[in-house]
Symmetry: C3
Amino acid sequence: MAKTNSGRFFEDYSLGQTLVHAVPRTVKMGERALYHALYPARHALYSSDAFAQACGLPFSPLDDMIGFHVVFGKTVPDVSLNAVANLGYAEGRWLAPVWPGDTLRSESEVIGLKENSNGKTGVVYVRTRGLNQHDEPVLEYVRWVMVRKGNVDAPAPEPVVPDLAKVVAPGDLVIPKGLDFTGYNFALAGEPHRWGDYEVGETIDHVDGVTIEEAEHMLATRLWQNTAKVHFDATFRPDGQRLIYGGHVISMARALSFNGLANAQMVVGLNGGAHANPCFSGDTVKAWSEVLDKAETDAPGVGALRLRLVATKGGEPFRLRGDDGKYLPEVLLDLDYWALVPL
Amino acid sequence: MAKTNSGRFFEDYSLGQTLVHAVPRTVKMGERALYHALYPARHALYSSDAFAQACGLPFSPLDDMIGFHVVFGKTVPDVSLNAVANLGYAEGRWLAPVWPGDTLRSESEVIGLKENSNGKTGVVYVRTRGLNQHDEPVLEYVRWVMVRKGNVDAPAPEPVVPDLAKVVAPGDLVIPKGLDFTGYNFALAGEPHRWGDYEVGETIDHVDGVTIEEAEHMLATRLWQNTAKVHFDATFRPDGQRLIYGGHVISMARALSFNGLANAQMVVGLNGGAHANPCFSGDTVKAWSEVLDKAETDAPGVGALRLRLVATKGGEPFRLRGDDGKYLPEVLLDLDYWALVPL
Amino acid sequence: MAKTNSGRFFEDYSLGQTLVHAVPRTVKMGERALYHALYPARHALYSSDAFAQACGLPFSPLDDMIGFHVVFGKTVPDVSLNAVANLGYAEGRWLAPVWPGDTLRSESEVIGLKENSNGKTGVVYVRTRGLNQHDEPVLEYVRWVMVRKGNVDAPAPEPVVPDLAKVVAPGDLVIPKGLDFTGYNFALAGEPHRWGDYEVGETIDHVDGVTIEEAEHMLATRLWQNTAKVHFDATFRPDGQRLIYGGHVISMARALSFNGLANAQMVVGLNGGAHANPCFSGDTVKAWSEVLDKAETDAPGVGALRLRLVATKGGEPFRLRGDDGKYLPEVLLDLDYWALVPL
């Protein structure tokens, strides 16, 4: 037993600590083919080299969420193996496209620690960075999780809660080098709606739904080397259900949002997010969006939309919280992100 | 709701109209790997670069049906989102191999329209072409579908029913440039049967069967960006079943036909086809073939067989229609195609 | 029916016979992406080009078991279509890495034949070799299977049972050219344990479990062109269950063993193996290992561990056989192999 990884407990983290996450991974077109088979992903920039070239890129990069999942997956053995809950995300930015053939690795810095009053758990804040084979950052984000203490008698650390931005400022978004939407082909992209056609406060029901299968979420979750047993081992939970990786719901909702947001081509900022309720096999996932904000960028023809993306498993669209202020039981995901859209 | 695609209704089509279908797609070896995992595809020309080179090609192209599905999938949002039934195919020809790395897009021309006497639906005929990144056609075929009217008061168009060939003439088949079967290795291909060994009227039971799983048909259908909700959303039909994309049955049957038709290497013509009955998860698909015709070609060592490929979900082989002339309930697919076979 | 493959029966084999197996296959990164989605495979050498380059290789080869499955799959139509049981493996050696883009084919030589006393079956011993497009061997192993006689009146052949080594001698293991573990990065590999940290007799519980799904084992099995109907056709067995390809269990167990054996990077020898009990969908596969032996190699920084890898479907770890000497009913696999580990 001594040679296997039993994960870190709350007392194993210290402020400023750097965690070098294991198993770098080379990602190519095989990962993209699988991603496009697992999700109804159709954003043209991630589908066609020719379309990407017409937008000023050398060829089509891998989907933004592939980068997120690969970087995130590596952190699981060091950050969330003993996590009770994934509490939040903030200050996420995509810093460079991930190209087919890139090799990604992840590092995290512990930026906050706060033991809970029950003395049994604590909250760990990490800032995670994904790096490619040239040691260039491709992604960074803050995540905080509630982690069990292994030894309840371990002393509580000095509480430090980082001051996190509620929203990534538009000026801090990184636009991929060369991106130019002035010659954007709306017919090939699938919808005519420009940045100017979206209004703050507007809501969009993405209509389509996908019923979740065990085989699919396990394929997806393994693909990112996230091997937390709760996703794979039906004997692990007393109810015999495999909990679905929250990132599977993120990618499903993002792909479903094509229908109404086909031109929200690239996710470049993650302002926040909550996995509101667990998702299990047999649930039918649908999605709706709300336009939260709009911003201009320096890149030719490129605007930014701040969007709320909500995934549900039933119920009517556009309902998020009950009278008690809590998420409704059918809400799976509430994600707040910035995407690049042609002007 | 206004921003999502609700599909075209019968009155939205007009004769001569060109539909530019969305989301071009770059296909590579990742798509092939998935195709060969989803179907028991073993035709050597699509499996091995070395085998393809020995047949005069620069390397192994992507499977003929990959090209068909990619081109077809793009047409769904514009042609069949409100379709009541997929009525038929005709005049299908593969015009050039799809090479790994090619980017495919699709266009359709409306070539026929006929409102039904009930005034609620009509038949739309389209000729669809798939084009690669060099704007060269790789595939064309005619499909006709029954589509609902959105407004039953819309006036009926002048009825135009195109005059379609019952069979693609052998002289119109396009043989891939360089194809040469004179040095064909039958041992590596898996069977000794040459073009001359098949007789018109001969029937072949392909013996093997595959029981269909939800996860597999959804992976396959998404891979081709066919996102019609009836294939994915278990809450969509009153019976809670997800209808399986007819193309999944085509590919399954074509792959099963390897056992007996291992040397029917390349599909180059689609004379017709009917999805006789719906297929659902749990069905066990088997296949049988009938040799309908034979033809010579100009390419060295290359003959053509016209084949009927029938997929079933149970029952005895070689039974197609009942005494009433209708397809038997166990028949899923009746496909009529031309394949290239070594002499 | 005459054109389909009904497989070989015991009387169809003769000593010294060479079987050229059909359908060569080009394998690339798409196959790897699928492999890493189907199994929790995380060994760094097979995950990252950069890691492999730091270990002296030009880039990351395909997983050792991909090579095994591709070579094995091709033998099924000629060796085990009418097999009653897969009895054993011996003298397996990986002779060269399989690089993305390689085209593999397989040949087998019949090296032993022995009719059983019941006169209805016999044991066939074959030595199988996998070859790449340069006709270089990449893998060889001996397998013996019990095969039905097609004609019980066929005369029994002179019994020949080959003298097989119980263990591949460490000096016979082939180390990939250039492999050098002197600069091995244990942090990126995921565990700190070196060759010297493992002791003969030590046992490791790999803790994690995966519940098996029909869609996944069928995807895996087709990927290697193993199309034996018992794995795919739910109507084939009287109990309506699809038997899971034994190689699926091998790969699952090997991947699960990462947790405790993350540095057992490359499998280079297969000493023996038994598929102790059948595996079906719904089984939760876990794994444990035992260190059987240790050896040095000539390659810089590279040691070898001889490991027993046991896959189970329930029960306590480290239990293999009952008082009667037979495998316990929960044991799926008992595999004996050599792996390369950093000193």
